[in-house]
Structures are given as structure tokens and as C-alpha cells.
């Protein structure tokens, strides 16, 4: 379970995240939506322990993610990831996997993950030679290398072609079926509608809706309802 209570982040005099609270049950696929600059990435960085909140609390499976031991059960894929250019895809995945403890670190385990994300053939190529879509896939691979209970994805479908998007959505669905809790930021609302059980909508640092998609859309398309809600507030 992911529990967020009165979470805020202030940079100087600018409040980026303003006292948000959410409870996401185990096994839920949760889409975190909002216009550019709404505070989605700042929120997700606090959820995975990369940033400390200015106030409020985050609990992942009952534990504080700023304590580094908590992150044993967390997987995170950053937005527009950059990589260590001089490593191959396999070396990068093994490096990420080796940072977890009491997890499977065998070569077979890493190769299976590479197969799962469709990167097996390119495993020995330098990452600097990968296409944007391949980089997205390898970033996704490192997020699931520890078989996490909680998976945080920041714009995971960005830069993928339709086939890549279909593949990644298939993996997200299968992870959901395995009981993983998945929290992802996205601005591709069509995919969000297809994948999520629940959504949260963030606007200027505040939550304007959280709950099941159906209760939000009320029979309309998610994108249509989303745009209408944001425009109503601006």
C-alpha cells in the first residue's frame, strides 16, 4: 500500500506540491495525471525517496522511502532517462540489479528480464547506440530488476512506437496481475484509461480528483473530461 499524507514540497517561495493526500491499495494500477508543471515528477521523486518532503509523510508498504532499506521493494523508472553511455544494456541492468540485496542476481535472471522487455538481442550493444525506444525499454527493465512490490513509472510510454507501447502495456498488465502496486505519471491519457484502476489528477500542486476512472469520466472519454476539468479551474 502507498500512503501519502499532507505531502508538500516548497522550493524557495514556490510551492510545487501542496498538501496532497492519497491512499493507493495493494495491487492497484494508479495513474497520476496533470498538465505540465503540475508537480507530478516532484511527487514521484518524493515517493521513491529521491527528494525529501518539505512537510507531510509518505509510507510505502508502511515504511519511509527516504530510509534506503525501504527501497529494496521499490522499482522506479525516471522520465527521459539518461544512461552511463559506456555500458552495454546487460552491464547496466546487472549494475542496477547488484544494488539490491537478497534478490536474484544471476545472469539468467537478468537475461530473462531483457527478454521480457524485448531487449535480449541488443543486450551487448553500448547504450549510447540505442534508440529512444530501446532506452525506454532498458529503463523499464531496471525498474523491475528487483521484482518490486511497488513500481513507480514516470512517463513510461514516452518515445515508444505503437508496438513498443503495446508491449510495455502488456508487461504492466501482467505485473498488475501478479499483485504489484503500480503508480505512474503519464500524459498519454488513452493508455492511462486502458491500464488504470484508479487515477489522481494534480493541478498546480493540488489534487483535484482521486478515485476510480469511471467516477471521473462519467461516460465521457478520459481526455475529454480531463481537459474540461483543467480548463474549468484555469
Amino acid at each position: 500500500m502507498i500512503e501519502i499524507r499532507n505531502l508538500s514540497k516548497v522550493f524557495g517561495e514556490h510551492t510545487v506540491v501542496d498538501g496532497i493526500s492519497l491512499t493507493i491499495k495493494k495491487g492497484t494500477v494508479f495513474g497520476f495525471l496533470g498538465p505540465n508543471g503540475a508537480g507530478k515528477t516532484t511527487t514521484i521523486k518524493m515517493l521513491v525517496g529521491l527528494d525529501k518532503p518539505s512537510s507531510g509523510t509518505v509510507r510505502i508498504g508502511g515504511k519511509d522511502p527516504t530510509e534506503y532499506h525501504t527501497r529494496e521493494s521499490i522499482g522506479f523508472m525516471p522520465e527521459m532517462p539518461s544512461f552511463y553511455d559506456h555500458l552495454t544494456g546487460y552491464e547496466f541492468l546487472a549494475f542496477c540489479g547488484d544494488l539490491f540485496h537478497a534478490k536474484d542476481k544471476s545472469r539468467n535472471h537478468y537475461l530473462n528480464i531483457l527478454k521480457r522487455v524485448g531487449m535480449f538481442e541488443a543486450k551487448d550493444e553500448m547504450i549510447k547506440n540505442y534508440s529512444k525506444g530501446m532506452k525506454q525499454r532498458i529503463a523499464f527493465a531496471q525498474a523491475i530488476v528487483n521484482d518490486p512490490d511497488h513500481l513507480f513509472l514516470d512517463e513510461p510510454l514516452d518515445g515508444l512506437d505503437p508496438i513498443g507501447r503495446r508491449e510495455l502495456k502488456r508487461i504492466i498488465k501482467s505485473l498488475s496481475e501478479e499483485g504489484k502496486t503500480i503508480f505512474f505519471n503519464s500524459h498519454i491519457l488513452f493508455d492511462t484509461e486502458e491500464l488504470c484502476d484508479e487515477i489522481g489528477i494534480l493541478n498546480r500542486g493540488s489534487i483535484i480528483y482521486s478515485g476510480p476512472i469511471k467516477d471521473f469520466t462519467k461516460g465521457r472519454q478520459l481526455e475529454e473530461q480531463f481537459v474540461a476539468s483543467i480548463e474549468k479551474l484555469s
Binding site: 525517496g49 532499506h69 544494488l99
Partner: protein, 258 residues
């Protein structure tokens, strides 16, 4: 120190080592070093019977200069690049602390610099042996001293890169190297100055590392005996400085918004 700590530091160090030794610029610098070392043979041959002395003196100086270039060049961008390119998101979102990352980076780069120095040392020893100087074991002690100085410089560049850009870190590092090798001269120069200047220079003397302590190249080229106690003192001096610098780097890095 638990096993998680050691495992994380080792994993990050291994990755840093791979990244740095695959950097083409490193090989460019090492190629220059090789050309320079071979050039000392020529300089030795035109030195009127002082061949070996010239090769030893310039060879050890070359190893030092090229090691400094490698250390400052790679060290000043080591942490900054992680922050700027956000590759550290991959690392710090895992069960890894800021201290693990800093220490892993330190030991990874130190390993790369040590391997580079070992390569240059092999060339140097071969040249000395080729010129009839036999196995120059004292030179190894000088190179060990230089390695500890490089370790200190790596800690220094990592410390600078927690709050400044690579170019600024490089300038700071070059400044510290220059002043660090001139501290004794500086103290002597202000011996007859006013109290304020003396206090100021004394402050600098105790704050900045006295890098002249790591320079035994002249002693080595003249085959002067070096006491074991002095070796231990210099190593301890470097270790204390490195621990302080890395502790400050970890503290500053933890305060930084990523």
C-alpha cells in the same frame, strides 16, 4: 561497516571504473604520456653522461603530471555528470545511500587512476632498466606517494563537484595543487610580514593539504634513504584528509536537491 555498505560501494566503484577506463579521452592522455616517456630517452641521450638521472627525474615527473591531468579531468566531472544527467536517479532510487554513491565514485576513479599509473610505471621501469639502471625499486615508493596524492585530489574534486560545475571544480583543484605544493615557500616568504598576513597564511597552511609532503622524486633520483616512519606519516596524512573531504562531500550532497 556492514555487508550492504561494502557491496554497494564495490558495485558503484566497479561501474565507475568501467565507465572511466572506457573513456577515449583517458587513452588520449595515456598516449601522450607514452610519447613523453619515450622522449625522455632522447633527452637522456643528449645530457652528457647523465642519461639515467634525466630519465628518472623527468620520467617520475611525467607520471605525476599525467596522473594529475587524468585525476582532475575525470574527477571534476564525475559527480556533476551524475547530477546533471540524472543518472543518479537510477542509483539513489535503490537501496543506496548518498555515502555509498560518493565512496563508490571515489574508489572507482581511484582504481582507474591507479591502473593508469601502473601502466606508466611499467613503461618508466622498462626505460630505466633499458638504460642500465636495473630495477628502480625506490621509484615505486615515489609512485606510491603520488598515488596517495591522487587519492587526495580525487576526494578534493569530488568535494568541489558537490557544489560547483566541472570547469570551476577544475580551477579550484589546480589552485589547490599549486598552493598545496608551495605552502612551505609561502610560510617562509611571510616570516617577516605583519601579524595579519602571518595569521592568514598560517590559516591557509593548516587548511589546505601540504602536497609537498608527497613529493619525494628528488630524494628518489638521488637514491636517498626514506625512513619507514615517514612513509606511514604521509599515508596517515593523506587518509585523514581524504576522510574529512569525503565526509564533507557526503554532507553537502545530502543537502542538495536532486
Amino acid at each position: 561497516m556492514n555487508s550492504i555498505f561494502l557491496q554497494n560501494v564495490f558495485t558503484i566503484a566497479k561501474n565507475t571504473f568501467k565507465e572511466t577506463v572506457r573513456n577515449k579521452i583517458l587513452y588520449g592522455i595515456l598516449a601522450f604520456a607514452l610519447v613523453y616517456m619515450l622522449f625522455t630517452l632522447f633527452l637522456g641521450s643528449i645530457s652528457l653522461g647523465e642519461d639515467l638521472h634525466v630519465i628518472r627525474s623527468l620520467g617520475l615527473a611525467g607520471i605525476y603530471v599525467f596522473s594529475v591531468i587524468i585525476t582532475v579531468f575525470l574527477g571534476s566531472s564525475l559527480l556533476y555528470r551524475e547530477i546533471e544527467r540524472k543518472t543518479l536517479y537510477f542509483v539513489l532510487s535503490k537501496p543506496v545511500s548518498h555515502a555509498h554513491l560518493i565512496l563508490g565514485k571515489f574508489f572507482g576513479l581511484l582504481a582507474s587512476v591507479a591502473v593508469s599509473m601502473a601502466g606508466m610505471a611499467v613503461i618508466y621501469l622498462s626505460l630505466v632498466a633499458f638504460e642500465g639502471g636495473g630495477f628502480d625499486s625506490l621509484a615505486l615508493l615515489s609512485i606510491l606517494y603520488q598515488l596517495f596524492e591522487m587519492a587526495l585530489l580525487i576526494a578534493l574534486t569530488i568535494f568541489f563537484s558537490t557544489f560547483s560545475m566541472p570547469l570551476i571544480s577544475t580551477l579550484y583543484a589546480v589552485l589547490v595543487i599549486y598552493i598545496g605544493h608551495s605552502l612551505d615557500l609561502l610560510m617562509n616568504a611571510v616570516a617577516k610580514s605583519g601579524v595579519f598576513v602571518q595569521v592568514l597564511v598560517k590559516g591557509i597552511y593548516y587548511l589546505l593539504p601540504n602536497l609537498a609532503k608527497f613529493d619525494i622524486r628528488n630524494l628518489v633520483t638521488y637514491d636517498t634513504h626514506i625512513a619507514l616512519s615517514q612513509v606511514f606519516f604521509v599515508i596517515a596524512y593523506a587518509v585523514v584528509y581524504i576522510v574529512v573531504l569525503l565526509s564533507m562531500a557526503i554532507f553537502l550532497f545530502e543537502q542538495r536537491e536532486l
